[in-house]
Amino acid sequence: MRLFKCLTLFGALALAAIPAAAQRPDNLTRLELARKANPQSVAALRSLGIAYYRAGRYADARPVLEQANRLAPRDGMIALYLGMSAEQTGEYTIAKDAYSGYVLNGRTSRVRKQLKTRLAALQRRELELSAKSAVAREASLSSEPGSPMTIAVLPLKFTGSDSSLMPLERGLADLMVTDLSRSPQLTILERDRVQALLDEISLSKGGRVDAATSVRTGKIMRAGRVIAGGVSQLGGRSIRIDAAVVDVPTTLAGDPVQAEDQLDALFNMEKKVVLGIYEKLGIRLTPAEQALVQQRPTRSLAAFLSYSAGLLAQDKGNLDEASRRFEDAARLDPSFTAAADKKTEVDNAKVGASVTVGSIETMVQSTVEGSTAINAADHGVPTVEAPPITTTLNNTANDLNPGIAVQLGATTTTTATAPSQKDPASTASGDDKPAAATGKIVIVVRQP
């Protein structure tokens, strides 16, 4: 008997000593078989995707986790491992979407926090890569004309002696993008995406950006029209803003819209130009849309200049400078929320630059959800995540305050559900119970 106990103990210890990695080939086979038996099983796909990732088979992991993600979009671990697999294979758009999924649905707050910073850092890399890819695929992208309602706003070209006004190139373009997005009839391309493409094109042309660049940018981005123009410093504190709508297929530019005034009236000039562009585009704004266009992001010109300088620094990848500029803008006008948001974004990107998929996985391994999922994958066991916390919360609330909507939502008609509330009158009278004497039931109510 003692020998048997010793052998059992030895066997258990020997099994425990087998490292997870050594078990993987077997476990991958087991999980592949589980997926084959049920190709739609979230549990099998989830564990298999994680197992592939941990075996370094990132290209195999990504499609498996993508399928699992489609079937269970709220599963945080699937989203996380999909993001890491995509990042490993250089597919940053997929990685960003997947990480966003974990930030939305993931169960561990410190992982969510870390991913927020990683997302911000990935933003720039994804823009650069997609710009490079777009230029590489220029011929095919340019062959199909874009919709005339899809518009790219290019940075305005600054001319003047006061270099402190040069960042208005970016700031005014940013403002015009916001204002033109007020009409649901238009699709306005993101400013930073347009800027990334321009940077890529100018890089390939030795830093030169000429008139043809705007049309080329529009073609690559499948924009039907491009807004191009300039901001010119005149004498004293006067400036002029010009903007023209360029038709991408014909390369013809319409008559420019102009506004000229003192620098202090910058926002009035910008609004005048934007309303002129709407007119050129043949779009009539509703009163509500007009009111939105007339909104100013800030009343402080100094704050806006600082914000514009922040955009310029961010475009150039100088995140420290960008953070300082956005901070200045937010300090000069605390109600300038766009500046505060940008500062957060840039600060996150700074932190996220030092976050790697390795550091993410190390953190995940230390969480309960991560260790459970990883352990299951390492041992070839399909697993699913617990239901979202919202389900638990709704179930609790619905039990405390039941109603017909909940009952009909439960969709259980073949099986009876637990009586959630008593019927007070029939319970008190005993009328709810069938009885042998089915004649007249008399309730005697005693005198108090």
Binding site: N38, A43, L71, A72, R74, D75, E369, P382, T383, V384, A386, P387, I389, T390, T391, L393, N394, T396, A397, N398, D399, L400, N401, P402, I404, V406, Q407, L408, G409, A410, T411, T412, T413, T414, T415, A416, T417, A418, P419, S420, Q421, K422, D423, P424, A425, S426, A428, S429, G430, D431, D432, P434, A435, A436, T438, G439, I441, V445, R446, P448
Partner: protein, 361 residues
């Protein structure tokens, strides 16, 4: 006054439907059902209910949802010497849920609008009362119970692998006249005692399935009737469920147990403690573009430790998605036995059929 078991819903959903688990999406629900139980033997009784519950769920804002539900119902009881029937609209319930924080807390409130018939005549009384029986679990358990209001708070937190939900609520019911007076009777007001309810629930993924557990305790204040104060007993409901994929099928096992503690009826008669236990097994699978789910259910009722009833049901439900509509036709057959307090027995046979139609966008 309606039967609910949201735990079952949470687990019945396949893992892939997690995205649809925000329970109250904007939707309209209609669920006509017909239930019939026939008791034969020393006790002869045939109880039927046609219920057409309907509900509208309106999300007012991202965190604020209102739903409104009511029903049209008809209940009939045929027995030797008794032919009782009641038909009409039931009470209307309006509920509001407001979510606080990062899906951490829900404030819930509801009112029971007395649109149904709470005051029944002597001829309607048996039909109105029988549907309140917890063992038979009719889809609509009463026609009206006067004005009422519920307020509660629920919270949920992730604790390791578990999601844990906890909450409490209080239900107030105004007085109403349950029985119409006749020449020989004096009408009396009936005021149900307040209900204080506490709930603890937990769920988690387990192997490649999901498990949920829950318990609710309802403490009732004394009912008041004709100046007399009494209590029919507090209630505890325990629930458990587990769903597990089996290849392309899904196995679902659930159970609930209702304990009603010792109490007193309005007539001053002692109501001994009762226990109703229910277990269900179902298996869902795809067949011809729809999901089919056969099920078997066993229920036992004991009174003061002795047997009071048993029921076995076998059912089949289909799940059909057509655009924005979800249609769930179902049917089941039941058989069992019943023993009343005097020792008289009856055999039970019954069936129920229904169709839930849900439109959501």
């Amino acid at each position: 006054m309606r039967r609910t078991m949201t735990l079952a819903l949470a687990l019945a959903l396949p893992a892939g439907a997690a995205g649809a688990q925000a329970l109250l999406d904007r939707s309209f629900h209609l669920g006509p059902q017909y239930v019939s139980y026939k008791l034969t033997g020393p006790i002869q009784e045939n109880v039927t209910e046609l219920a057409i519950p309907f509900a509208v769920v309106i999300p007012i804002a991202e965190r604020f949802t209102i739903d409104l539900g009511s029903a049209y119902a008809s209940s009939r009881v045929k027995a030797s010497g008794v032919n009782s029937e009641i038909t009409g609209l039931t009470d209307t319930q309006i509920r509001a849920n407001y979510t606080l924080g990062n899906d951490a807390v829900i404030l819930t409130a509801g009112v029971n609008i007395p649109t149904g018939q709470s005051e029944v005549t002597a001829a309607q009384r048996t039909a109105a009362g029988r549907i309140g029986n917890d063992f038979f679990a009719f889809p609509i358990s009463n026609f009206g119970s006067g004005f009422g209001g519920t307020g509660g708070i629920a919270a949920a937190k992730v604790m390791g692998d578990w999601n844990v939900g906890i909450g409490a609520s209080m239900r107030y019911s105004a007085s109403y006249t349950p029985f119409a007076s006749s020449a020989s009777q004096t009408a009396f007001k009936f005021e149900p005692g307040n209900e204080y309810r506490a709930r603890l629930g937990a769920d988690r993924g387990l192997w490649n399935g999901r498990m949920a557990l829950g318990v609710s305790y309802s403490k009732f204040g004394n009912d008041q009737a004709g100046g007399f104060s009494y209590s029919t007993g507090d209630r505890i409901i325990g629930q458990g469920a587990y769903s597990h994929p089996l290849g392309s099928m899904n196995l679902f096992i659930s159970g609930w147990d209702l304990v009603r503690m010792k109490g007193e009826l309005a007539a001053g008669i002692t109501a001994p403690w009762e226990n109703i236990a229910n277990g269900t097994v179902s298996l869902s699978f795809n067949a011809g573009g729809m999901q089919l789910e056969p099920s078997a259910e066993l229920r036992g009722w004991s009174r003061d430790g002795g047997r009071a009833g048993r029921l076995a049901s076998f059912g089949l439900r289909a799940h059909i998605d057509v655009g924005s509509f979800t249609i769930l036709p179902s049917a089941s057959l039941a058989t069992g036995g019943y023993l009343d307090v005097s020792g008289a027995t009856a055999n039970i046979s019954g069936y129920r059929g229904g169709m839930i139609i849900r439109y959501s966008r």
